[in-house]
Amino acid sequence: MRGANHLPLILLFLPFALLPSLPLGGWGAFLLDVGFFVLLFTALALSWDLVARTGQLSLAHGAFFGLGAYGAGLLAPQVGTLPALLLGAAVAGAGALILGSVTLRLHGLYFAIASLAFSEVLRTLALKLPFTGGPIGLPVPPPFGGTWPLAAYYLSFSVLLLATALSLWAEKSPFRLAQAATRQSEAVARVLGVRVIRVKLWSLLLGSWVAGLAGGVYGMKTLFLSPYDAFSLGRAVEALVIPIFGGLYTTLGPLVGGVVLVSLEQALRLWIKEGYLVVYGAILILVILFLPRGLVGILGRRRG
């Protein structure tokens, strides 16, 4: 029964695990690159959903992504790839603690505005601080000195696995109930004994770690970071559009949403070329209008 519950997840992950070894001819390298970004942005979306499960609309995920990217990018030449990624995630986590400790008493849109301001402040700092490369940008070394071409892909895969594991833990443990209670009514949750601020802070911390890891891996793939790219609001919007498209407050929703939406964007760009955004936008609108529970709503199973 437990295995059957995880079947959709296994079916989602299997093609990505096998992708590097599939005989795809000339398309192989291209699909690996597309797969890299699908995995990475799906992980970012899942990290956003972890926070959204407490009812908080975070626009700080671009900032966590940027903190992780800059943290890892700056540290990688000194400490190596994996420690740099972990330290980058820790920097993002520290950012989440600072943001959370002063703003998590705010609700809904007020928190969203505060998190947006947080992103803007960090972007400005990245532009002004002397060690970030400022507006000129920061070159980042490839993972493991570029000796293993598939390293970035497997790192991206690992980040998504970790995000999924965290999300499944949150979904299957009593933490889910605390998150759901906090989302539905903080006052009632408090009466029920839920330590609302602590639940929100933990959710934000978990989300920021994953977003920071994703940012670190992103920098190692693109080899260059600029404050406007790394701390982009567009990244935060992408992180929230994917769970809405796939299905909010679940593990499967952001996973399905990320795989479908990021792949769809690449495919439309390939086939339609100019004007692909019109089709992409129309599909988004149709899904939001007719599938209010997202793509996983089609399965007819209510989760969360």
């Binding site: 291209f30 690159d33 597309v34 070159p139 693109t222």
Partner: protein
């Protein structure tokens, strides 16, 4: 029958003599740099038509959109290399995206003909890559060209104070420290303030500038900032002797707005440039697209394809290494003036096309942009002081 056979043999011979070239084009057709990317693509396609009509080279283009985003550019580039199997790539307009391509380019090893990417960070990223041909001047060339104009204003017109309004993003902030330092070295008093591009709110900064009473209001931002700055400078009663803007592209139709009059800026090309290649390009562009462009990325794209075809002809081969050898020794006239490749000023890259000499200053005068400096290219005298009043 013999005539038919002879004709067929002739056709087959011509086809045989043609050099088949397949080139990938990776440009921002969406995202922040889409205006420049589309202009570049127009120039590239125009040149490809001309090359194919001439018959010596049969050029096939595979165009992909980099979305002005590294996350979209990297897979698009990989597709060009592994699916479309091109050996030659034209592109690299935005610096950040081009930097992100440096890894994949080194991995796949194409002949990379770079249309933009002026940041010298890109120059360092491609150091040692043997097939990197950079056509656009580097950022230090841009600074040199602008400073030459400011030196002239200081010497000939007695300008002494510059108020710099710069956007707080990478484009506006990257060189601001150097600019400030260099202007002070030229004898200017400088007051500089950042702004957020697209905000449309400049009155507070411009009012502070009024107390400084600058001779020159120099703004570094994007096309969306041009009109608000022109309007609000007048609103607050700032009366500089020259408004000088440095956006990557100017707003479409800005010249038709009377507020643009007397505003100056820098570009690498205008349709009014008086050289034979430029005139030929303008005529051909008008014929194909029914309009004239003022985006210098269009003739830049055109120049790259023309030079590629000429190098292929001289090499007599579609082999990327032989074409690169021919390109390295190529000398040709272009809408920007003569083109030849030499090592970059810093020595980081081996093949640099244009330098500071292609930049010139223009002024919006009676509904169009006119070259005003240096004197060798000026078609009108610079209006200094300009009149920046509400009429």
């Amino acid at each position: 029958m013999r005539k038919v056979v002879g004709f067929l043999v002739l056709i087959a011979g011509l086809a045989w003599a043609q050099i088949p070239l397949k080139a990938g084009v990776i440009l921002p057709l969406s995202g922040a740099s889409a205006v420049s990317g589309k202009a570049a693509l127009n120039g590239i396609q125009l040149a490809a038509d001309e090359v194919n009509a001439a018959g010596k080279v049969r050029l096939e283009l595979v165009v992909v959109d980099d979305g002005t985003d590294p996350a979209k550019a990297v897979p698009a580039f990989t597709k060009l290399m592994t699916v479309d199997k091109v050996d030659i790539v034209i592109g690299g307009l935005a610096s950040g995206v081009t930097f992100a391509l440096s890894g994949p380019v080194k991995q796949h090893g194409p002949l990379f003909l770079v249309i933009g990417a002026a940041s010298s960070v890109v120059e360092q990223a491609f150091e040692g890559y043997p097939l990197f041909f950079h056509y656009h001047p580097w950022d230090y060339h841009n600074v040199a060209a602008a400073l030459q104009f400011f030196q002239y204003l200081n010497r000939e017109h007695g300008a002494k104070k510059v108020a710099i309004l710069y956007e707080d993003g990478p484009f506006g902030s990257a060189g601001i420290g150097v600019y400030r330092q260099q202007l002070e070295k030229l004898g200017y008093q400088v007051q500089a303030e950042p702004f957020k591009t697209g905000s449309g709110q400049f009155t507070a900064i411009l009012t502070r500038f009024r107390a400084f009473a600058p001779d020159i209001l120099y703004w570094i931002g994007y096309d969306v900032d041009a009109l608000p700055i022109a309007t609000q400078a007048r609103q607050v009663g700032l009366r500089p002797k020259l408004i000088y803007g440095a956006p990557p592209s100017w707003p479409i139709g800005f010249e038709r707005n009377p507020l643009s009059n007397d505003i100056a800026g820098m570009t690498a090309w205008l349709p009014t440039v008086a050289n034979a290649e430029s005139r030929r390009f303008v005529d051909a562009y008008r014929k194909k697209y029914g309009e004239v462009t003022e985006e210098y990325m269009a003739p830049m794209g055109y120049t790259i394809v023309r030079s590629l075809a000429l190098a292929a002809e001289q090499a007599g081969s579609a082999d990327k290494n032989r074409i690169a050898e021919a390109l390295a020794g190529l000398k040709m006239n272009t809408p920007f003036g003569p083109l030849s490749f030499k090592p970059s000023d810093t020595g980081h890259t081996k093949y640099q096309g244009f330098g500071p000499e292609i930049w010139f200053q223009f002024q919006y005068l009676q509904g169009s942009r006119r070259p005003v400096f240096p004197k060798a290219v000026a078609t009108r005298p610079l209006r200094y002081p300009g009149e920046y009043y509400f009429r």
